[in-house]
């Protein structure tokens, strides 16, 4: 289990991370989502000890993550801006990384075929998508306990994305690998994440199991006979209100059945539907709550 406790970091005078708390269970796929520049990559780099935090600490399976603790040997990080050593082929890089990890040759060869990647092609001459696949193949072949993927599916076509998720889910299921994925593609994460942390301006706004989050944040649409005053609903925790014609669409936390009862007690309900919310919608709602995207 990966836990990040009260992690804070300043770059000069700029507070990049503030009191970050993250808990990712063993065998869980954790989606780290957030606005641009909110500190997702910085958080991942702290886990890998690329950066050193000013405050807070990180543990994995109860052991504090430190550059020299040795626990880091179970981590693998695929960064957003990929770097490959000059003139290296995937095969050469595999053998180089073999000096540091117990790389699985079997998995490597299987994934090469699965993604149809030429292992003898110089990595820096590959397309962006091929490079992502190459980096992903290496990360899986390294068989880490904690895999950090930063914008891994960014720029990939739908077929490759699907292949990525298939491989990842299989690895998680087979080896109980913990995966932290930072991504902007919330629709993709919606399908595979067990848990989500929403970041904004260096803080974690909300961290929850995705199912629970979806249970907590609900959307209903309703219409009543006659005039409706929103003030009537002030006892409910309404996050967002949209009115289209005579139909109100509310995003709220709490029990929607009570809302329905409340409305029925005061109005004649013409329409009341519970709508399912996607991760993207939850994300927009959460960030909207802190004013993001609503600047004038």
């Amino acid at each position: 289990m990966l836990t990040i406790n009260n992690l804070s970091k300043k770059f000069g005078d700029f507070q990049v991370l503030e009191d970050i708390n993250i808990n990712a269970e063993k065998g869980q796929i954790y989606g780290l989502v957030g606005s641009n520049g909110c500190g997702k990559t910085t958080t991942l780099k702290h886990i890998m000890k690329v950066y050193k935090q000013d405050e807070g600490y990180i543990t994995f399976d109860g052991e504090e993550v430190d550059e020299n603790s040795g626990i880091i040997k179970y981590f693998y990080y695929v960064q957003d801006t990929l770097y490959f050593p000059y003139q290296y082929t995937l095969n050469k890089l595999f053998h180089y990384e073999k000096l540091m990890y117990n790389m699985s040759e079997e998995k490597f060869e299987y994934l090469l075929k699965y993604f149809n990647i030429d292992k003898n092609k110089v990595l820096n001459k590959m397309s962006k998508g091929q490079k992502k696949q190459a980096a992903f193949i290496l990360s899986i072949a390294a068989q880490p306990k904690l895999l950090l993927l930063d914008e891994i599916v960014d720029g990939l076509d739908a077929v490759i994305k699907r292949k990525f998720w298939d491989v990842l889910i299989k690895e998680v299921m087979d080896n109980e690998m913990t995966v932290i994925i930072s991504s902007h593609d919330l629709k993709e994460l919606d399908n595979i994440c067990d848990k989500v942390g929403i970041m904004h301006e260096g803080k974690i706004l909300r961290e929850e199991n995705l199912e629970k989050m979806k249970e907590d944040i609900k959307r209903v649409q309703f219409a009543v006979e006659g005039e409706f005053d929103l003030e009537e609903l002030k006892e409910f925790n309404i996050l967002q209100t949209v009115k289209i014609g005579s139909v109100f669409i509310l995003t709220l936390t709490g029990n929607t059945d009570e809302l329905k009862k409340h409305l029925e007690s005061k109005y004649t309900l013409l329409l009341f539907d519970k709508l399912s919310m996607s991760l993207e919608e939850i994300f927009i709602t959460e960030l909207g709550g802190v004013g993001y995207g609503k600047e004038k």
Binding site: E67, I72, T81, L99
Partner: protein, 581 residues
Amino acid sequence: MEKKNNFMPMLLYSIKEKRNWVLLSTVIIFLTTLVIPYILRADEGTFILFGIVELFILVFINCLVDNSFLHNESKLAYYRSKPVPLRNQIILNIATNAIFMVYLLALIVLSVVFQGLDYEILEVFKMLIPWLLAIILLASLSSILSGNTLMAGAMTIFNFCLPLIILLVTMFIFTILENTVIGFSADVLNDYFINNIYRLDYLYFVRYVDNESIDLTYLLLLPIIMIFISLLINKFIKRRKNENTGFIVFDGFKYFVAVLACLIIPAAFSISFSRYINIGSRLFISALLAVLSYYIIIAFIEKSFRISRSSIKVFLVSMVIFTAVTGSTVAIANQYKDLVPNPEDVQMAYVGNQRWSINEIDRFLKDDYKSENLDFTEWKRNRNIVTYEDKDSIKNIAELHKEILKDQTFYHQSNYYGVNSFVIAYWMKDGSTIIRDYKLTAQDPFTKEHEVKIDLANKLLNSNDYKKQNFYYLYDEEYFSGRNLYAKLKRVNDYNTILEDVNLNDLRDVLRQDIDNIFIENDMAFIELFMHFNMHYDKETILEEQGYILEIYEKTSDADQNYLDEIHLKNDFVNTLEYFK
């Protein structure tokens, strides 16, 4: 997934990765040190030295390239995310570069062997190896301290030259001292500092290049320096946060560089113009230069023309410290400015205008000239150095010193060309040395103070010490006996025509008589004392008078002559001129 003990395999891998560099370096070194000199049939030694310079550059570039992963965000993230601690990665680079260095040195040795050159050329290795090792470690240290590879290169050179920069700043303080405390010379202080306290010849291993064999100091100093730099590397690895915050990632080091670098330009200015611009103007200009240099350096390092409050604070504090150190040095020196030693405590003294002579004597006393296998008298004779050991002479020098402290002028003739550095040195019986350098101003008319100085100078010129050393071929019986000494008479405007060639034995008495007479009541005695005899007579004066010179030489065989001295026979040499008539 489990990490193995992977240092050795990674080192081997790292060396293997160097194969293109190795190939290129081999071609460069062999081409320069073997092929080109062979084709040109040129001096192979010079080309070996070229090869050594190339080796230095190759190792330096390699170190920077290997450590450049610290300066690129994605590269850094890639390597730092691997289960190899930063310390191990740096050690790996150091080890790889050390092996690369050994390989290149071996190539140079092979070139020397193939060409059958004298192995003495490899003496330079005694200095080169420590330099290369230091460069490898300093490149790693500088890369850790910097956020940019070019800056890391610049910082490597800065760190390598740091002892020299400190020396420059010290010299800056000495030039201020020279201009504020009478008798103190920046050059003398600097010589003393370099020769006795701040031994850069040891630190840079320069002294071992010329035949000096490797000694215990070398064997101790080399590992001490390497360990010191390694400890700094270890310390800064622990403290490096890796975020790219500028050209230099440690604020402390940034200010250290800026403060020292901003002193280089004013120091260089002050040292260069110490004799031409008065101290007030010089300090004012130096302060302006320091402020400007600091601003430019900070603006460059911080990539902003807006200087931060903390940068201003650091500069002000540094300048206060610099002023305090300089002020204290001046205050301490002031306490000794009137010091004239008790003649009883003096073993030997020197007066003249040649500070070089004092350094030479010091070196002789430290056995630096042991290899020449000469006694002190003979050694001094070869260098035209005169010292005084006689009690009366030392007493007269002390008196003269007191007079100089009272009045820093001397009487001069109109055609005197104006050397005005007057140096007094005492070698004390307790082993210490006192050196003073006074800047004397030539003055006309003649004053009472001049008379006292001339009187004391006359006493010194008539002393046995002086004559025996300056005119050894006339006054040193030990030297004179058993030698074939001769004198050639020539006209000053016709050096090729020998008018007379006489045995000095015949001329000795009349020449001694003239010299004795000249020094008695000579109103130019003071100038005579601190300049070489007759030097204040220019060619015109000699031509105006008799225009004769006397060349003294020793006939070592029928074919060989050993030139000893030249005396300008002016009108005062009555007896000698009469002899030749």
